[in-house]
């Protein structure tokens, strides 16, 4: 059974995750997270501490669910009209495989475009995916998004990288 987690399957998981975001399938995307999964965007390059150092985002499934429910709300004025996004990923590199523990880590360089009305903004950085195998499925324990300019001043950044 261990052998069914192949490098190819891990890489496909990362591509598939971004595809769900590009297709605005928010609920399906959230279902990729483990019950204790975290989405983290550090504020400073190389940041290790999410508790006593500020982050752009550090959200558990409850907060992510609030975000997603809000995107669908009738009175979410900053999404009238809605934003759209586009992910362009370099081939993910598998950094760690532990079949025994069912834990895997990948790192992926990306370009991300978020657009609304007539404007589009390009962001660049790296994803780190900490994945865990539960039964036959893979889940996200941690998705870390390191922007190359994470400490720059941004305007509204409304969707998920």
């Amino acid at each position: 059974m261990i052998g069914d987690i192949t490098t190819e399957r891990l890489i496909d998981f990362v591509y598939g995750e971004s595809a769900l975001l590009d297709e605005a399938r928010w609920d399906d995307w959230l279902n990729l997270f483990a019950a204790d999964g975290i989405y983290w965007m550090p504020l400073t390059p190389g940041q290790q501490d999410a508790r006593l150092q500020t982050s752009l985002l550090h959200e558990d499934k409850l907060l992510l669910k609030i975000r997603i429910e809000r995107l669908n709300g009738q009175r979410t004025f900053s999404q009238q009209p809605a934003s759209r996004c586009h992910h362009l990923l370099q081939t993910p590199r598998v950094q760690a495989i532990d079949h025994g523990a069912g834990r895997y880590r990948l790192r992926t360089a990306f370009h991300y475009v978020e657009t609304r009305r007539d404007e589009q903004t390009l962001y660049a950085g790296w994803f780190t995916h900490e994945l865990a195998r539960e039964g036959a499925h893979l889940f996200i324990k941690l998705k870390r998004v390191d922007l190359v300019n994470s400490d720059a001043a941004f305007g509204n950044l409304q969707l998920f990288m």
């Binding site: 006593l52 409850l62 669910k65 809000r70 979410t76 004025f77 001043a153 941004f154 305007g155 509204n156």
Partner: protein, 441 residues
């Protein structure tokens, strides 16, 4: 065609008792006058002493449109200098913060300056002999700002050498800074956690106006805070309420809550929401903190400090302080339609880490460019900036609960727009007070 420069009557006419003219938000000429008059004559926040703990430590920022460097010149002496080489104009301190040692060195021609700005050395100095160099402006080194005052480690400056004194400018409003500092069992704050920087394509005064606007949270933030409450209600019974939900949910309190909490106004455009109650009043106690406060201050005083739960305090012209949550936001004007919002956070020295964790969570959830609360605020600011171009209406309304003859300190209904009126009257005053002097001279 310029019409406001050197024309105090035209500027004063923009602020009526119950409405202000749209030019305050859209006119590039008025923005320029703001930089040359308002931000020169007011006391403006520069930074916090904990950012420059040792002599030679510096922090670079702007006051209005002026690049400055705040530097610790001696253990008890913080200076604020114009960050501009007197030689060719190069910005001398280039990093956001750092340590320069005993002197600054310009990266262009290696002119050096002591940390009080005075000129220390020039390579090949004999080239200036018998040139009359001593009579040039450059001989005086880096210019100091007009006046600096460090109040309980908060560093403020007035760009102009002459003008209103620090105490006269802030008066009783300093009690909010006092309360924030007193919340540390050791009576000391440190900048901590990192600063969130958020670009707004709107006029800086829209943000200042918003800080005491208590009729918008239940409308603009229904989508975020309201959703948080709804999602939380679906959690299984008995689940402990997360800190984040505790921070979101008061935003959608009913109008009556905000009416009751009250607004206090002071002279010179300062004021705060949350006199009797506030959205920060009902956070869960942090184990060990109350005990540390009682040990430091005694039961009665600790209770008084922690019982003062002021919501947003506006220090005119461009910062807002939240004492109970230890944040300070700076609304930095970049252009008539561009503002950089910096949200700073503080550690209460001697308090448990959980308080800093709470502060940082609040800052992230509410003030980040990724914040679901910030998104809707910025949306309405940017829609205002766009639609104020309309010639269908000329004025912006601030009439709510206007009582006539408003002046001085007062405590009023928490949904009053009196603090906004207070700010705009202070705006008209500090835009023109220096012009009057020039005319009189």
């Amino acid at each position: 065609m310029p019409c406001y420069q050197g024309n105090p009557d035209a500027i004063r006419a923009l602020v009526r008792e119950r409405e202000v003219h749209k030019d305050l938000f859209t006119s590039a000429e008025l923005f320029d006058v703001e930089m040359r008059e308002l931000f020169e004559t007011c006391w403006v926040y520069v930074g916090h002493a904990s950012q420059v703990p040792k002599p030679g430590d510096f922090y670079t920022t702007t006051v209005g449109d002026q690049p400055v460097v705040m530097v610790r010149h001696a253990p008890d002496d913080i200076r604020v200098l114009h960050n501009r080489c007197p030689h060719k104009g190069v910005k001398i301190a280039g990093e956001a913060c750092g340590h320069t040692g005993k002197f600054f060195r310009c990266p262009y021609h290696a002119w050096t300056f002591k940390t009080d700005g005075s000129l220390l050395g020039i390579p090949l100095r004999k080239g200036y002999e018998n040139t009359g160099f001593d009579e040039t402006e450059a001989r005086q080194g880096m210019a100091s700002v007009g006046a600096v005052r460090v109040y309980r480690d908060f560093v403020f400056c007035r760009l102009r050498a002459e003008g209103i004194g620090f105490e006269a400018f802030f008066g009783e409003s300093l009690s909010t800074l006092d309360n924030m500092v007193d919340r540390s069992p050791e009576g000391r704050l440190e900048v901590a956690g990192g600063v969130l920087r958020y670009l707004h394509r709107c006029n800086w005064k829209m943000l200042v106006d918003n800080q005491t606007d208590t009729c918008h949270p239940m409308v603009a933030h229904e989508s975020s805070a309201g959703t948080a409450v709804r999602v939380w209600e679906a959690a299984p019974p008995g689940t402990p309420k997360p800190m984040a939900v505790e921070q979101f949910s008061p935003f959608v309190s009913p109008y009556e809550f905000f009416e009751r909490m009250g607004i206090r106004v002071w002279d010179n455009g300062h004021g705060h929401t949350g006199v009797a109650d506030s959205i920060h009043a009902a956070y869960s106690p942090v184990p060990g903190y109350g005990e540390a406060m009682v040990a430091a201050y005694g039961e009665a005083r600790a209770k008084a400090i922690l019982g003062d739960v002021r919501h947003n305090t506006v220090y005119f012209p461009n910062i807002m302080v939240k004492g109970p949550i230890q944040t300070l936001r700076v609304f930095k004007p970049l252009a008539a339609d561009r503002t950089l919002v910096e949200s700073w956070t503080f550690r209460l020295v001697g308090a448990p880490d959980t308080l800093l964790e709470r502060t940082l969570m609040y800052n992230r959830l509410i003030n980040a460019p990724t914040s679901v609360v910030g998104h809707d605020d910025l949306e309405v600011y940017e829609r205002s900036q766009e639609a104020l171009a309309s010639r269908g209406r000329e004025w912006v309304n601030v009439a709510r609960l206007y009582e006539g003859e408003e002046s001085g300190t007062a405590v009023v209904n928490g949904t009053s727009e009196r603090q906004m009126r207070n700010q705009y009257h202070a705006w008209a005053h500090f835009m023109t007070v220096g012009m009057n002097q020039e005319v009189a001279a």
